[in-house]
Amino acid sequence: MAEIHAVIVPKWGLSMEEGKIDHWYVEEGEQVSEGDDLVDIETTKITNTLESQHAGVFRKLVAEEGETHPCGMIIGVIADAGAADSDIEAFVESFKESYDPADVAVEGGGPEPETIEAAGKRIQYVKMGEGDGTPIIFVHGFGGDLNNWLFTQPALSEDRVTYAIDLPGHGGSIKEVGDGTLSNLSGPLRDFMKAMDIGRAHLVGHSLGGAVVLSVSKEAPDAVASVTAICSAGFGGDINMDYINGFIEGKRQRQLTQTLGALFADKSLVSKDMVDDIIKFKRLDGVDAALRTLAAGAFAGGQQAETLGDQAAALGDRLLVVWGEADEVIPSAHAQNVSGGARVEVLSDAGHMAHMEKSADVNALIVEHVSAFD
């Protein structure tokens, strides 16, 4: 019998329970390849594009645009051209009959975040994947957390263990950040690697997290297999202080929605849940002080305090720099400052959160980069 594959509502991140079909890119009868854009799915937090995991003919569109379905539910069918229509119908029926949301909740629920005391500092992380590949550690930027990698970490966890961490001052990690300079973040990352017994890893950092991983590669070169720096600090002086200050001071939902618009080329990606989550983060004991201290330490006088251009040169081709062309927080022009043999990719239609906005492109670049330096 011909192979028949279900296209299902994916589970992006721990809290996703259902997805709304926003836009289909394919029509029934169309040939699709692995990696082709299939459908935009809207979650309460963000809209993302689901790519095809199979090659074949898009035989049946099960869920129309505007419909909402739980994670794991069938929304389309990909199969060989030779599969009989009756078989496709039967496949959809049997999928729906055997669908149990409880299975998805358990199996697709993904790992829960864990914490570890690294040199006396609590670090929260989420671990995914298994395999022999050199591990990857994902490090978010100013005001972010490990959930920023929800579209990236699963895609990179197919042949290796990966970790996304909360930096000090963020998420579920300790809120103490010393004087707010970079070493107060890079030190704990190295302590985390020691505590977790990770001898060597690929480091992927976004924004301020990019500067953090560049620092670690300088402080502990043997522990770093490669570095990916996305829309990263460390390559120039400019930093959008309106964004940083707006993030720190913003308390009202609408006000923060405006501020967070600077993160995306497509402003409509800022959802109510995204804003509410950030407000909730900012209310945690110690966060306000941590953010102010970090901003004062890392962006003293409205400029990035530390540039790491020398380190870029030292890393050579082990450095991948990715930028969203429309980045309004750290200008993509900083990509031109990267010297040495680094690979530099500037993505169009992407802003500061390039890894969320163009996750497929960013994921593919990281896969290629880490494979070359395993």
Partner: protein
């Protein structure tokens, strides 16, 4: 993030603040349970089990059971607050606060003002409000308007577990008397509540739904009814904004005015009887400061001007429900006010 009930969230807030600050104490009837009597210690944890388990950790010096005397509880709590403790006084049903009005209105609420700012009264008064559990006229009222009326008191009405924890920690750390009113039908609702301590500032409304056609302002349990209506109408293409002010004193006037300036239509829902309640207060605010934005008369949905009935059918009819709120939304949308004239 772990799911917790309102009951758990309040217990966790109390526990974390008592661990953080040794001056935080709990005082009230049966907050420990059986203390000093023949029953088991910690058998009760308050009438709704909210303080259960705390005496085991903090002992009878910090979880203090009292005789049935509201004036003694409030008088002791207010006095202790002026001398350096941060008492959380539990007064079971808000209906009973009449017994200790003087301690609250004339004493606790006035100390800071009458001593020229030299006295602080960091006391939290926890109590239950609301109809819906067949508890009859003396155990079912929503008396938040009375406390909101008094300068010197802050009044908090949490609607969900996340807010309950953050608002209670804020209340305990506040240097003024705070009346913290828990709706007795909401204790078991659950949502995501961080394990860490956090605070929600007073006077900061929560937009529980965002919309452009009509603004509904609701208080306490009424927020859930407003959300239900908003979700139902969204399917019919009507975009409803729902505002939960979270605190009635201070009141987030800016959030309400900003919303009505956008939508031009206002429905206010309050479970308190209609005279001098929060629906009146918010309606007056908007009529005074955003009259030019209104496209229709303001609608107030409240309980009737009557004691809460004990007969179940009458009690159900007494409480504002989704049907009445939905009808009010349609009424302001179809009103022949300025929109029709334009």
């Amino acid at each position: 993030m772990p799911k917790k009930s309102v009951r758990q969230a309040i217990n966790e807030a109390l526990r974390q603040e008592m661990e953080r600050d040794p001056t935080v104490v709990i005082i009230g009837e049966d907050v420990a349970g059986g203390q000093g009597g023949s029953g088991d210690v910690d058998a009760y944890g308050g009438v709704m089990g909210v303080t259960k388990g705390l005496i085991g950790t903090f002992g009878p010096d910090r979880v203090i059971d009292t005789p049935i005397s509201e004036s003694a509880i409030m008088g002791a709590a207010a006095g202790a607050a002026t001398t350096g403790l941060r008492p959380v006084a539990e007064l079971m049903f808000v209906d009973f606060l009449g017994v200790c009005f003087d301690q609250i209105f004339n004493q606790a609420a006035k100390f800071r003002y009458m001593f020229g700012g030299k006295a602080r009264t960091p006391v939290v008064i926890r109590s239950m409000i609301g109809a819906g559990v067949r508890a009859a006229a003396q155990h079912s009222q929503c008396l938040h308007p009375i406390f909101t009326h008094v300068p010197g008191l802050k009044v908090v009405m949490p609607t969900n577990a996340y807010d309950a924890k953050g608002l209670l920690i804020q209340a305990i750390r506040d240097d003024d008397p705070v009346v913290f009113l828990e709706h007795k039908t909401l204790y078991d609702i659950e949502d995501d509540v961080p394990d860490e301590a956090y605070t929600i500032p007073f006077g900061e409304a929560n937009f529980t739904r965002e919309g452009d056609d009509v603004t509904i302002v609701g208080f306490s349990r009424m927020v859930h009814i407003a959300n239900e209506v908003a979700d139902k109408l969204e399917d019919k293409g009507i975009s409803v904004e729902v505002i939960d002010p979270r605190t009635t004193s201070p009141l987030d006037e800016e959030a309400i005015l900003e919303s009505v300036e956008r939508t031009g239509r206002l429905v206010v829902v309050d479970e308190a009887p209609p005279r001098c309640n929060l629906a009146v207060d918010v309606a007056a605010l908007v009529a005074d400061k955003a009259f030019g934005s209104l496209k229709a008369p303001i609608k107030r949905i409240t309980a009737p001007h009557t004691p809460v009935p004990f007969a179940p059918t009458l009690e159900d009819a007494y409480i504002p429900n989704a049907g009445r709120v939905e009808a009010a939304v349609h009424e302001v949308l179809e009103s022949g006010g300025r929109a029709a004239a334009e």
